[in-house]
Symmetry: C2
Amino acid sequence: MAQQERAIRTRKIILEAAAAIFDERGYESTTIAEILERAEVTKGALYFHFPSKGDLARGVLAAAVTTDGVRSHSLKLQELADTLLLLAYRLPREPMLSAALRMAVDPQSRRLFGTAWPGWTELLADLLREAKARGEIVEHTDEEAVARMIVSTWTGVRVVTEGLPGTYDLPGEIALLLRLLLAAVAVPAVLSRLEISAARAAYLYEDMPAWRAETAGSAAGITP
Amino acid sequence: MAQQERAIRTRKIILEAAAAIFDERGYESTTIAEILERAEVTKGALYFHFPSKGDLARGVLAAAVTTDGVRSHSLKLQELADTLLLLAYRLPREPMLSAALRMAVDPQSRRLFGTAWPGWTELLADLLREAKARGEIVEHTDEEAVARMIVSTWTGVRVVTEGLPGTYDLPGEIALLLRLLLAAVAVPAVLSRLEISAARAAYLYEDMPAWRAETAGSAAGITP
């Protein structure tokens, strides 16, 4: 068990080192040697977990569809908003997330490895379907199309925010986006109850370490 | 005059050749030799118009903020929608536009040349200010912020549409985006009068050659 935990930790260290360099320089320009140096692991350990550089790219993309830190709420739309707000707070802080986006946006690595977008679209469409079943969104909403629009627009806000002169706060911009989009989708009584702000993103993030510890604990069988 | 016209045409041919290759392979990987071959012009002509490869990149970005083909309309919001629908129809057909977006999305060329996004944001904010002055949009709208959101989300829809499996039609996706966004901004009486569809994008585009000929004619002093 201790050995398995160590293996999981080593895998994570390698993946995070790879993500950090992919994020800084792009997938193409990154070498295995740099990843080894950053991760401070042996070549053997790296190749055991990731036989090729492509496996590292796929590992980063797989880790980028995440609802970690989102707690269940009586409104499914609030869970949806929380997922997207939290992601906005985490992305500039977690190279794993920003590397996945950089790779998705780059035509070359996209051709090779695809993107996390289909996974995100599916996850959000599921939330919208649940929201519709509870009467939170207007009847004629096409959940697939709206989910696709959320993924597209979230991505665009990140990409353009990064490229505009001046400093824009990603959670603040994503809050603005969500208020615009959900105005067209939520029923009025639900819309007025939603909490969509950069402050909420920060609050959810502050709450994450505890949440993470819990999950890690239960996954390792420490808590029942 | 004939000489000046020829110079304008040569400049355009060179810029279009450069845009086509930037669009296919990215700015970094493009060489002047390839542009010369594609444009079929002399080295002297190229360096006369564009002393460096960077000047070509700046030329492409400058050409990518365009309302060509948008006619005036009694509703300013319809002009705004038409601008964005027409762009969606033109972008996959005009390397100049898609090259500008590819360069804006690429961190390296963005660092060197910036993007067309500030120009677009300003153009759309102006349209929104005019729309507000006419009572077409809700009073509390922040025109700057909404303009920035439109630029961000339009960009995201293009980037993600390109990267998703399956084929999505850009004008159709942009129409969906605009219906969502404008629902939060337009006053109800205006919203119901807006025509936002992929079909309108095609219709506006079909009408462009005539419009272009007119403008070109008047610019050259042929028509009064």
